[in-house]
């Protein structure tokens, strides 16, 4: 049950803020490392032209997978204004057919730097879609 690959989805904060979230993970025996990017999504507005998500944060992500329980803990690290911020996700791996191969569903909370980030905590849903991840140059 490796979690290696790209996971794409959404973060929804209890305050109503939403962000598009992407993880690229490389799993080695239940310990995964990689990178994340989060882009806050604009609120829907009937009066104006839609604008794309704004790139806000990127950084390293670490994950620990419990294969027996089907759970995953993710920790995203970032620095905002020289202050460290840690966002942790307690999730589980679920079937997402037919929308995607699998999904991570869970809750996130701010482990460090809550005074720096406008997020309070909420839900995270990340999908692993079926795709050929072979790099173009290797084909």
């Amino acid at each position: 049950m490796s979690v290696t690959g790209r996971w794409e989805g959404k973060l929804i904060d209890v305050t109503g803020i939403a962000a598009a979230l992407t993880l690229d993970l490389d799993d080695s025996n239940g310990e995964a490392r990689g990178d994340f990017s989060a882009a806050f999504l604009p609120e829907e507005d009937d009066c104006c032209e839609p604008v794309g998500p704004r790139q806000v944060q990127t950084g390293p992500v670490h994950a620990r997978v419990d294969q027996e329980r089907g759970t995953i803990e993710l920790v995203c690290e970032m620095t905002i204004g020289l202050r460290p911020v840690l966002v942790a996700v307690d999730g589980r791996l679920v079937d997402a057919d037919p929308h995607a191969k699998r999904a991570i569903v869970g809750c996130f909370d701010i482990r460090e730097g809550v005074e720096t980030l406008t997020l309070e905590g909420g839900g995270v849903l990340l999908w692993e879609y079926a795709r050929d991840r072979t790099p173009e140059g290797d084909r």
């Binding site: 929804i12 909370d109 406008t118 839900g123 849903l125």
Partner: protein
């Protein structure tokens, strides 16, 4: 950082995202008494054509900010039961409370939902929402 837990009673409003790709709005109007929770729930799931709207009864238990709820949607031949596992917490400095959790569709006839996540708030001041300004850290 551990957050102070919040009580379950009140009007909770927010969003859900399902593993099948559907998104929507969720409201929970809950009353708590001696660890028992009851109330009503309304889910509005967005679709390209018309939203899927269902209201149902909520029952469950709460203990120190942890909520285990069972939501039943019944209409004609439809019967959908959702098991929700959530926790509540006080927001950092803007007042109000938050609830986040995951849910699973425990039994279903027809439902666009399979399981997913939710994020709700209670008593969130409008001023705080304006100050957030779309989420710039």
């Amino acid at each position: 950082m551990a957050r102070a837990s919040a009580g379950a009673s009140g009007n909770w409003r927010g969003s859900i995202v399902d593993a099948l790709g559907y998104e929507g709005a969720l409201t929970l109007d809950l009353a708590e008494r001696e660890g028992r929770v009851s109330g009503v729930c309304t889910a509005t799931i967005s679709d390209h054509h018309e939203p899927f709207v269902r209201s149902g009864k909520v029952s469950g238990e709460t203990d120190d900010g942890r909520l285990r709820l069972r939501i039943s949607f019944r209409r004609a031949d439809e019967e959908v039961t959702i098991a929700l596992d959530a926790h509540t917490f006080e927001l950092s400095d803007r007042g109000g409370a938050g609830m986040c959790g995951t849910y699973e569709v425990a039994a279903r006839s027809f439902s666009p939902l399979q399981g997913g996540v939710l994020a709700l708030s209670r008593d969130l001041p409008a001023r705080a929402m304006e100050a957030i300004g779309g989420g710039t850290p």
